[in-house]
């Protein structure tokens, strides 16, 4: 197509470009300007001069950030929590999906499938209320009803870091497992029924059928979901790590992730240098990780890849 005919085609579609305008403009403002704004990580922000006119500071912000213990702690926490979440939710999700699919009663099946998704619909604020109802030192159900039953002393949960990895893993699983479970169920439903018929004729036990038909049938889904989650490994659910532990200072080393660090540095401590350096670090590494994971997804199952 020559330049002239391209121009003609553009003109012919002018109405479409007009319809495209609001969405593209919105993305420009909401997404592209902040991308350019990442350069504040290299500036010493001076509000009287404005962000663009503020003096450059080179890599100073990064030097300060990586000199602190925090940089290591938030990186470690973000990655370890995410890896644990991926593994735990995958195992529990697959287990429940297989169990639900093996159940014969149609009504029961439908009921379980619906119930398991309910926590997914709730906000982290609601979840923080539930966790607080259980673990509050004074009014919590665990301290008031369960610990006396076990003959144990009450624990000040929100001041004891050692319990929080477990609590967060359980809360995350409780909220998120229904989502993965539904995807696994829809994959299992798609597995060719005749495979099971043939296995039954051969006298294969239920366990053998699961091991040799269901699990291999789920393989592609498992790998794809896992890789997509790994692509997000540098990002966390802010509410889970900020709201659910009630922003408790004593827990900080155990629950601080990159997202909560950036928020605290920006809005509670007013340290724009540190916040922007940590944010830049997250955006950049996150970008590299998502490219790699997508590359891997594409090799396995091209349809599930992002691009």
């Amino acid at each position: 197509m020559g330049r002239n005919s391209t121009w003609k085609a553009v003109k012919k579609h002018w109405a479409l470009y007009l319809m495209l305008f609001p969405g593209c403009l919105y993305l420009f403002i909401n997404n592209y300007i902040p991308m350019a704004g990442l350069i504040i990580a290299f500036k010493k922000v001076n509000f009287s001069k404005g962000i663009w006119a503020s003096p450059w500071s080179g890599l100073d912000n990064f030097k300060f950030l990586f000199q602190t213990k925090d940089a290591w702690v938030i990186t470690r926490n973000t990655i370890l929590y995410n890896l644990t979440f991926i593994v735990v939710n995958m195992i529990v999700g697959i287990f429940l999906a297989i169990l639900i699919c093996e159940i014969q009663s149609k009504i029961a099946k439908k009921l379980y499938q619906s119930m398991i998704l309910v926590p997914f619909l709730m906000s982290m604020v609601i979840l923080s209320y539930i966790v607080y109802a259980l673990f509050s030192a004074e009014n919590g159900m665990v301290n008031n009803s369960i610990m006396p039953l076990l003959g144990r002393e009450a624990i000040s949960w929100y001041n004891e870091p050692k319990y929080w990895p477990a609590i967060l893993i359980v809360v995350n699983c409780w909220k998120g497992v229904g989502y993965g479970c539904l995807i696994y169920i829809s994959t299992i439903i798609g597995i060719d029924k005749s495979l099971y018929e043939a296995a039954k004729l051969d006298g294969a036990s239920r366990w053998k059928q699961i091991k040799h038909i269901t699990l291999p049938g789920l393989k592609a889904t498992i790998i794809t979901l896992t890789l997509l989650n790994i692509g997000r490994i540098f990002y966390s659910d802010f509410g889970l790590f900020y709201q659910v532990p009630m922003n408790s200072g004593t827990l900080l080393n155990t629950i601080n992730v990159i997202d909560t660090y950036v928020y605290r540095a920006l809005l509670q401590l007013g340290n724009i240098g540190m916040a922007s350096a940590a944010g830049f670090y997250q955006s950049l590494v996150g970008f590299v990780v998502v490219l790699f994971s997508n590359f891997a997804v594409k090799k396995i199952d091209a349809d599930s890849a992002l691009f």
Binding site: M19, G23, I103, Y129, N139, N144
Partner: protein, 299 residues
């Protein structure tokens, strides 16, 4: 084979296992509800419990009597959810329709422009500074609506795929012969035929707006901000206050405690905030499940 003893035993085992899981899902919500109808003094002395010694409807009386703040926040949640979802759907579906037109010049470049926002982003700091310093959305209703308008490029691309695969090309052609403009085609053909995907996407968008509390946390503060609190922001503020008291940072504890709704009222508000979801979910369960399997919440 189906009626063998082993199978019956397995069915019992599997069902009891799933019943246990179902209980684990339901019980926490039940705890919230029971706490909201528990007598305040019993709550304070015995803690939250499934079997309280004394029940009371005080919390709900308090809400209906003196809950102007709560009603206001509830209204804000509904308003923000309606505006946000409507604008989001209109913008996403219009963009998706344009991208589904195969003859459009630069279609791939534009698709990439939209898609790239899923891979890379500026994160909180530049976004916050831009919205606050350039657009001055702090303590305005826009703070609750604008940052979520095109939740993710993912939804645009999903809607586009739906249009490409389920609206026959012949419909467009006959509309063109009738002399219909692009806007008419969008209104008369694309929107009605795309209803299933729009319902699904709208559901997830609405859910995200209903549950959003971070925008309020970032952009609303002080007296001006409190006027705009959604129900989630209100709940968030209340639980933050308790934590503040516990940490001993507040000097004038007596006054704070008096201003603060009581334990059961907090739980009642939490229950009221999740009630609409608990009512809507069983009715629209099909769409939620479909949305998840097509990947409506991928990014």
């Amino acid at each position: 084979m189906l009626h063998s003893k082993g199978n019956t035993r397995f069915q019992i085992l599997a069902n009891s296992c799933m019943l246990a899981v179902t209980l684990m899902v339901v019980l926490p919500f039940l705890l919230v509800f029971i706490s909201s109808i528990t007598d305040e003094n019993v709550l304070i002395s015995n803690g939250y419990s499934f079997f309280p010694e004394k029940l009371s409807l005080y919390a709900y009386q308090y809400i209906s009597g003196q809950g102007a703040k709560i009603f206001r926040a509830y209204g804000m949640t509904i308003l923000v959810t309606l505006i946000g979802t409507a604008v989001n759907l209109l913008m996403s579906s219009m963009t998706a329709y344009v991208l589904s037109v195969r003859t459009l010049p630069f279609r791939h470049a534009i698709t990439f422009y939209i898609f790239f926002t899923m891979l890379f982003g500026g994160g909180l700091v530049p976004t916050y500074m831009m919205y606050v310093n350039t657009f001055h959305i702090k303590n305005t209703i826009w703070a609750l609506v604008v940052p979520g308008l095109m939740l993710s490029a993912n939804s645009v691309l999903l809607i586009r795929t739906y249009y490409v695969t389920s609206i026959p090309e012949a419909l467009y052609e006959s509309a063109e012969i009738d002399g219909a403009g692009r806007m008419t085609v969008f209104r008369r053909i694309v929107l009605p035929l795309g209803k299933p995907i729009l319902v699904t996407m709208g559901l997830f968008t609405g859910l995200a707006y209903w549950n959003d509390w971070t925008n309020g946390l970032y952009y609303l503060s002080g007296k001006d901000g409190q006027r705009l609190y959604t129900i989630q922001n209100l709940l968030n503020e209340m639980i933050t206050n308790i934590q503040y008291l516990a940490s001993g940072k507040v000097q004038n504890v007596g006054a704070e405690v008096n201003r603060m709704p009581t334990v059961s009222v907090r739980m009642a508000i939490a229950f009221v905030a999740m009630l609409p979801l608990l009512i809507i979910y069983p009715l629209l369960q099909k769409y939620f499940a479909e949305g998840i399997t097509v990947g409506a919440v991928k990014g």
